[in-house]
Symmetry: C2
Subunit: 327 residues, 2 copies
């Protein structure tokens, strides 16, 4: 089987490739070749050094999608995008990369299939940003997509394309609406959602973190391990049972910031909690107040997708995967 | 005020222009110029001979949208599309005309506004084809758009673009999801939905019509007069009260084929009804069984959009507008 990961240098891409290296049978069939693409050349994992190709390629430039698809991968995992803040700041770039790049990929697959029969599994990283306020208490699987950002609009449009291309038989697609990933590894960043991870990650290694919102803020989370698991499951599942509604809100954990902090106290003690400094930030508070807080992700759960059920698990996963198992 | 109608040679476009000619004050401000565009040159209504321009132009060809928008219309009514059957039969053409043509129009408006402040009202003809089965008993205003046709996908994508361009302040848009128009004037055509009109229109003039489905088939209707009324209302309404959810399911009438026939009997007698010949057609039955049957179009009604409440009204409107008031 030939697996292609587009956006392989990103956080989920790298973790996904690590997982494939650690568990070579996880996709159900042997990986005979692996193509890792991103705008910067993605790292080549040692376990795959003999069968992997790494490519620096920008999907939104003319001919790139055709070049990628000419190798006819069996599974295409499309994680490449510019993030919400950038898509809002740069209207042209957001539409070019997030919409036109994805559409070029879908079109390249269709054209390849016109040449010779070809029906790859296509997994598309979508987002809960496809939804916009006001929300019901829990967002169900049939709630409409009325995004309030250009990023969410681009993701919602790609979801519609994915469903139509799948229905027409051009590929076998699944759209994966990711929760906010927590604990996001790495350095603190300036994303408005950064603090959800920062207030756990930094105190776990004895560093201070800033909490810009109230503890009663509720949000929707999954661990990086769950995010990888969604794509692995989607790559190997029987898509015959999904039907034409191919875009799925992934399961996650609806939790308060206060619950994050309680879990931190249970696992790392009050000393860790005392490293969280409260610095209310009205700008971040306003942004966050527009985000979804809870979902009833019944369809995805019924289709076998799983995520964490409490923040203790999310923290333990971080400790296992990022801190060598020790706090 | 400069009003532009794109798709002005189509049924709704022509009726809209006739209505503007008959009621020059209907948009609330005097029409100083009128641009009528379509792929074939639209008819020039005598009442507007001095202030109207007619243009044969294909929105999906390079530069056409810029050419249209360079005249900076205040109200742009975008009715141009290829229909459902054609969009399904010709994948490339459907996306080119219905998606890329509309996006080119929206982009041309944005670019014009970058040059010099410009915020036109943009009315986009969408469709209940943005919805796909299975449906709830009544489709509410927050039901998701999971189209099962490429046409519905193209309309749903344009709705997302319209909402985002409006939110970003590039124009002031409203998406108008039209019910099935009945009684559609003109000749019987081969559209799968044609019989809903045919079984009334032909018997009203003493001709035979074919009914390919059961009388218990339910569907969602509005008269051509209502369709024109939706655009007139949307052109002049205060958009400040809509909020960012700019795509509205228009009000309509949920009715059984049997109710159409009962209304025909009341208005034109059993002799007219006896001209309906039952010829069950499994192909048409299957297509029609996938269509929405009923909506709770609360938001549009609250915003002042109105439609018929029974089939007697729909037939009477046809008699007034198409048959000179007499059966």
């Amino acid at each position: 089987m030939h697996v292609m990961v587009i956006g392989a240098a990103g956080m989920i891409g790298r973790k996904l490739v690590e997982r494939l290296a650690a568990e070579p049978g996880s996709l159900g069939r042997e990986i005979a070749s692996l193509t890792l693409a991103d705008v910067v050349e993605p790292p080549l994992p040692p376990a795959f050094s003999s069968l992997a190709t790494t490519l620096a390629i920008d999907l939104s430039t003319e001919g790139s999608a055709e070049r990628l698809i000419s190798s006819r991968p069996d599974v295409i995992i499309h994680l490449a995008a510019i993030v919400s803040g950038e898509a809002e700041a740069d209207f042209d770039k957001g539409y070019l990369v997030n919409l036109d790049g994805t559409r070029a990929l879908f079109e390249a697959i269709r054209r390849e299939g016109e040449r010779e029969r070809y029906l790859p599994r296509v997994l598309f990283a979508s987002s809960i940003a496809v939804f916009g306020q006001p929300f019901p208490e829990k967002i169900g699987d049939e709630f409409f997509t009325t995004p309030l950002t250009s990023y969410g609009t681009q993701k919602a449009i790609c979801e519609l394309l994915l469903a139509d291309y799948t229905r027409r038989g051009f590929f076998d697609g699944i759209g994966i609406r990711l929760p906010t990933i927590c604990i996001r590894p790495g350095k603190p960043n300036k994303a408005a959602s950064g603090f959800f991870s920062n207030i756990l990650r930094e105190p776990l290694v004895g560093q201070e973190a800033i909490l810009p919102v109230d503890e009663k803020v509720r949000h929707w989370f999954a661990s990086p391990r769950s995010a990888v698991g969604f794509f692995i499951h989607a790559a190997r599942m029987d898509t015959g049972v999904i039907g034409p509604r191919r875009n799925l809100t992934m399961p996650g954990l609806s939790a308060l910031v206060g619950e994050e902090i309680e879990a931190l106290a249970r696992i790392a003690g009050q000393k860790a909690v005392s490293l969280i400094r409260r610095e209310p930030d009205p700008v971040i508070q306003t942004i966050v107040s527009g985000w979804a807080t809870d979902f009833d992700a019944r369809r995805a759960r019924e289709l076998g997708f799983t995520a964490e059920s409490n923040f203790d698990e999310i923290i333990r996963i971080h400790i296992e995967d990022e801190l060598g198992g020790r706090v």
